[in-house]
């Protein structure tokens, strides 16, 4: 869509002329998708040659035409396997020029609303390509279809004035005033045949004003936004969501819902990786492989839907993520009623409330360079080293299989990537090696699900995929001259190892370095070689903790752990323990061990990684000993799919963990909704 240069007078077209126009558009080599009436209602459908838009003016088609800019399933990568070798390539770009003909304003606005998201730093070529080839001929409404229409409440003009490339305004006598809004609109109109008589501008303006007036404003979005913030923790969400069946109907039918999943499918040696529609209503959407779910019930999921549309998205992209089409009310099998809920929260709310969740700033953003058109295409990496850290944790060292790609590649401390086992899928791991040790990257992962299991089957010499680096980083330069306290639990040492290596490689920049690391059992401590090295160094103060020491038969043996080199600390009063620097291995949960280490908050930055429970308790300890929340850093590990701020999966409130995280300070996390 190109912007209009000058306003041109609207011309009048008869109903029959619209049919001829569609035929001309098809003859021009365009795909025309238009409302078609059938026995059971109106649908947007591709017109075959000779087909007519028989559903024009018959209310709103059942489903939105979302698939024309965001297909329900769309290949983003082609995979081919030959023996142990894999090639990856981009799918052919869809070259079809599509005209959405007779589309309603509430549907036509959607691509425009989504454009900032799909072009936010990273460009999604699939969406952008389709949108560039999409022309919109908008059919203005003259009245609300039913009580579920609330376009005027969210700033959608039902008359379609100025929306899309051409606006058609139905006139009383059954003809239509056609007005081009863009150069593309002019080109389309030129195909409509002999120019009709010009429409009377005053009458046209009146008709359009009447249309606007015919759809009542049902709530004030600013008030709704304030109300959503104010009632975030309200019981309301549990109550209203009791009917919800957790299907994806509301999101899949919505013209602007855009969350997606990435999955791959092999058939023989050929495969595709594809985007599939996904929805925040599904319990799986945010489910971690560990079983932890940041949004554990339908109440929190429904709350997310409303907050995302009317609060988070507007705060981020300055548009409401809803055009007021009403489909989610009409099509919900359970009679859920977003409009009524918005009216309830908006009522009496103070509209003046500003953004309630300021954007994080502590972890500096890393400038994005999109090296290839298709940001979903991974680099092919060759595995050059495999190390087993524990029975279920493995480290892989990777080098670029196509060495020219290594040249432009760099990453920073704390960033992560998406690693693929070709044919199985992608998993998110941090880059566990330090940028100061270049020529390779390493990842360390615990076998958890499908992808990690497949990655474990790979060996030295095999190919796998990597895309990244993604996310923000640790502000290591801001820490110069400070004491550093690293605290990690279990498999969370890898994200930390990158920054520890960096600081050790720039040892002179920092003062004392203390590392507290704990795991369930001695067997679960990863990077044993490095731990031994850090233990030996006199410029590193390392403390190791285990939860318990198992006997050969797996039974708890904490009482005897002392005898085996892991004496317990004073569990009841960890702070009272006097630690002997000669005895650095103790039986203690990480938070207790931290308390026993008695770190001083003065001039100290604490970095904390681990499972949610550990983080939670350790934060309390750090708070107790006086650390300011701004000096405590951690990384979040929300479920991720795209890694580049498109798929919606990693969101916590308005924050895209994949882009604005994963590094946050405790102060920032405290301002996020409790959906971690």
């Amino acid at each position: 869509m190109t912007a209009t240069t000058a306003s041109r007078p609207a011309t009048i077209l008869s109903r029959a002329a619209l049919d001829t126009w569609c035929a001309a558009l098809i003859a021009d080599g365009r795909r025309v998708v238009a409302p078609v009436a059938g026995a059971t209602g109106v649908d947007y459908q591709e017109l075959a040659a000779g087909g007519i838009p028989s559903g024009l003016g018959e209310g709103l088609p059942h489903q939105s035409p979302k698939a024309t800019w965001f297909p329900r399933t769309e290949p983003i990568l082609r995979l081919e396997r030959k023996g142990q070798e894999w090639t990856v390539s981009d799918p052919d770009a869809d070259q079809t020029r599509t005209v959405l003909f007779g589309v309603r304003a509430c549907d036509a606005l959607a691509p425009e609303i989504l454009a900032p998201l799909f072009g936010w730093d990273w460009h999604d070529p699939f969406f952008e390509n389709r949108r560039a080839r999409l022309a919109l001929v908008v059919l203005g409404c003259t009245k609300a279809v039913d009580e579920a229409c609330f376009c005027t409440s969210v700033g959608t003009d039902p008359s379609g004035t100025g929306i899309g490339d051409v606006t058609l305004t139905p006139l009383a006598e059954g003809s239509f005033a056609a007005e081009a809004n863009s150069d593309e609109g002019e080109r389309l109109l030129a195909l409509a045949g002999a120019a009709g008589a010009p429409a009377d501008p005053a009458a046209l303006a009146r008709t359009r004003a009447d249309a606007r007036a015919a759809v009542p404003v049902r709530f004030d979005p600013e008030q709704a936004r304030a109300g959503l913030a104010a009632r975030f923790g309200d019981k309301l969400w549990e109550k209203v969501s009791r009917s919800c069946l957790a299907c994806g109907t509301c999101a899949f039918s919505c013209p602007v819902c855009h969350c997606f999943d990435i999955q791959e499918e092999m058939c023989g040696c050929q495969g595709v990786r594809q985007k599939n529609w996904d929805a925040c209503a599904f319990p799986h959407f945010t489910l971690h492989t560990s079983g932890h779910n940041p949004r554990p019930d339908q109440g929190t999921r429904w709350r997310q839907r409303l907050n995302h549309k009317f609060r988070y998205f507007p705060e981020k992209f300055d548009r409401t993520l809803c055009t007021g089409c009403g489909r989610c009310l009409r099509l919900c099998p359970a009679g859920m009623d977003m409009l009524a809920d918005l009216q309830v929260v908006a009522e009496g709310a103070q509209a003046a409330a500003g953004p309630t969740v300021p954007m994080p700033t502590a972890g500096p953003a890393v400038a994005v360079t999109q090296a290839q058109d298709n940001p979903y295409r991974p680099y092919r990496m060759r595995i050059v080293q495999v190390r087993d850290e524990t029975p279920d944790v493995r480290t892989l060292r990777l080098e670029f299989a196509d060495p020219e790609q290594a040249t432009g590649f760099s990453f920073q401390v704390g960033q992560f990537g998406l690693y693929s086992a070709f044919g199985e899928g992608e998993s998110t791991f941090c880059i566990a090696s330090s940028p100061s040790r270049s020529g390779y990257i390493e990842c360390t992962f615990r076998q958890a699900g499908r992808v990690t299991r497949a990655l474990r089957r790979l060996d030295v010499g095999d190919l796998m995929g990597f895309r990244g680096p993604y996310g923000n980083r640790f502000p290591v330069e801001r820490w110069k001259g400070k004491h550093l306290l690293f605290i990690a639990g279990g498999i969370a040492l890898p994200p930390m190892r990158c920054v520890i290596q960096w600081c050790l490689d720039h040892r002179a920049d920092y003062r004392d370095i203390t590392i507290v690391y704990g795991a369930r059992t001695p067997r679960d401590l990863v990077y044993q070689d490095e731990l031994a090295e850090w233990e030996r160094r006199d410029d590193v103060n390392l403390w190791l903790g285990i939860d318990w020491k198992p006997r050969a038969d797996g039974k708890d043996l904490s009482d005897q752990a002392a005898a085996e080199g892991w004496p317990a600390i004073n569990q009841a009063e960890p702070g009272a323990t006097v630690l002997d620097p000669a005895q650095r291995r103790r039986t203690a949960f990480v938070p207790q061990l931290v308390e026993a280490v008695k770190p001083s908050p003065a001039d100290t930055v604490a970095v904390l990684c681990g499972p949610p429970v550990m983080i939670n308790f350790t934060m309390q300890v750090l708070k107790k000993v006086g650390f300011a929340p701004d000096d405590v850093y951690t990384t979040l590990e929300n479920r991720m799919k795209c890694g580049i701020g498109k798929c919606g999966r990693c969101n916590v409130g308005p924050v895209y963990v994949c882009k604005e995280g994963p590094v946050f300070t405790a102060a920032e996390i405290a301002r996020l909704p409790p959906e971690l």
């Binding site: 026995a39 059971t40 649908d43 399933t73 009917s243 994806g248 099998p333």
Partner: protein
């Protein structure tokens, strides 16, 4: 062991112009696999076209395997195991036999060429039979040519290509406001609400599920309540609303006993769930409402079944006459047209899973469609993904689907979701005299078997 070397078959295929079919055999390890082994060690000659997949028992042959084989390019699939009576797990093959009967019917309903799916009993001693069966099957498939229908599906990820089935009506229409202006209707809904409030008050139920209206569109909305003062929000159900028995699976609604507003549809669903020990009599307290809106009172199980039986009138196996008529029409089509009918129906599906999530029977804690280790379903809403979803769902509901139409009313894309259910209900009735939900005392169709179940189709 001389199981076919697939590479050899492929090589043969490219060297010769004659078509070499790719066949998959799912066999039990005790009988047929041993039989195939015997054929190999005895150096019997049979074509190398078949890839043999060994399973512990025919009972373990999930139909998802068979669909997966076809969607991955098989031209024919054969399933085989121990003769009836010889199963090493005593009855695995009896259950498999029932499933094969239903699955063959399902394939036939879909317009699938049944010659491409064969069943056999081959014992460990029947190496000759194995060799002959494979020889015949290969010959037959060679003559039939490549199986292309499923491969064509693979390219389909586009817009719907056919009108919605006429039996799809979408969501129920806007209702009259509640409380109703009509005194008779109001009295009924007050009686219902009063009975539920009383049960919540005397704590004979911990929560109640019923119906209310959504505020904006006044459409039916399931609701559960825990306090007596909320009871006046409950209204009378309509005829074509969803099925409240679904709420027994609501993850947050775990308290029992649960009061439930039941119509004929819920009662049938409850019967099936009780057959399967998914609900016990004491878990639910029933507030029965007849199709015409009369509140029949708080009834015990058998009384509710009896009181609501009249509402089944005109329905076949629970399905509406309209659905039955459409099924009859479709089944009368030639098989190629049937295939096109379903293909274009499935093509509408956007995989929102509203059909599953509204279904009282689809209550698996983790649906097969949501499992990814292994991933039996292609995840995409494209040709193969939709085919697998609809076929496997229909099969999991064979003998269980009570025809309430909740799925169809829920589907936002206008797929006639419950037609396959209606077609399979005919098989269940025809072959096994089974009517889903007729009584809580029946045995679940796919878990039960008779030693004399039909098997004329098994070689």
């Amino acid at each position: 062991m001389t199981v076919a070397a697939p590479a050899a078959a492929d090589a043969a295929a490219s060297a010769n112009t004659v078509f070499e079919p790719r066949l998959v055999a799912f066999v039990c390890k005790w009988c047929t696999y041993a039989g195939a082994d015997l054929a190999g060690t005895s150096r019997m000659l049979y074509p190398p076209n078949v890839r043999v997949i060994k399973l512990p028992c025919t009972g373990r042959i999930d139909i998802a395997f068979i669909i997966r084989a076809f969607s991955q390019g098989a031209d024919g699939v054969i399933v085989s195991g121990c003769h009836p009576g010889d199963c090493h797990y005593s009855a695995g093959n009896f259950r498999a036999r029932r499933r094969w009967t239903l699955f063959r019917d399902l394939l036939d309903i879909l317009g699938f060429d049944l010659r491409r799916f064969q069943c056999a009993w081959i014992s460990a001693a029947e190496g000759t039979k194995w060799a002959a069966t494979i020889r015949d099957f290969t010959e037959e498939m060679r003559a039939l040519g490549p199986y292309t229908a499923m491969r064509q599906l693979a390219g389909e990820r586009g817009a719907p290509v056919a009108p919605r089935a006429a039996v799809w009506h979408g969501r129920p229409a806007r209702r009259e406001p509640e409380p109703s202006a009509d005194p008779a209707t109001r009295a009924r809904s007050e009686a219902l609400a009063g009975a539920i409030a009383a049960a919540l008050t005397d704590k004979s139920i911990a929560a109640a599920v019923g119906w209310t209206l959504s505020p904006t569109l006044r459409r039916p909305r399931p609701l559960w309540i825990t306090a007596p003062e909320e009871a006046d929000r409950l209204g009378l159900p309509g005829d074509s609303d969803g099925n409240l028995a679904r709420l027994l699976k609501h993850p947050q609604l775990t308290v029992r006993p649960l009061g439930m507003v039941v119509r004929h549809a819920e009662m049938q669903a409850l019967n099936v769930l009780r057959q399967e020990s998914q609900v016990a009599e004491q878990d639910v307290v029933l507030f029965a409402v007849a199709r015409d809106g009369r509140f029949l009172g708080r009834l015990d199980w058998d009384a509710a079944v009896a009181a609501l039986a009249a509402d089944a009138e005109g329905r076949v196996n629970g399905f509406s006459p309209e659905v039955e008529a459409e099924v009859s029409r479709v089944l009368a089509l030639p098989s190629a047209e049937r295939w096109d009918y379903w293909r274009t129906q499935f093509a509408r599906c956007i995989k929102c899973y509203a059909c599953r999530n509204s279904c009282p029977m689809c209550g698996c804690e983790v649906c097969l469609a949501d499992k990814n280790q292994p991933q039996w379903f292609p995840t995409a809403a494209d040709g193969p993904g939709n085919f697998a979803w609809h076929v496997i769902r229909a099969f999991h509901l064979a003998g269980r689907c009570v025809g309430c139409g909740a799925c169809q009313a829920a589907c936002p894309a206008g797929v006639a979701v419950n037609l396959l259910g209606a077609a399979l209900a005919r098989s269940a009735a025809g072959h096994f005299g089974h009517h889903a939900g007729a009584s809580h005392q029946d045995l679940p169709l796919q878990a039960a078997f008779r030693t004399d179940d039909r098997e004329s189709f098994i070689k």
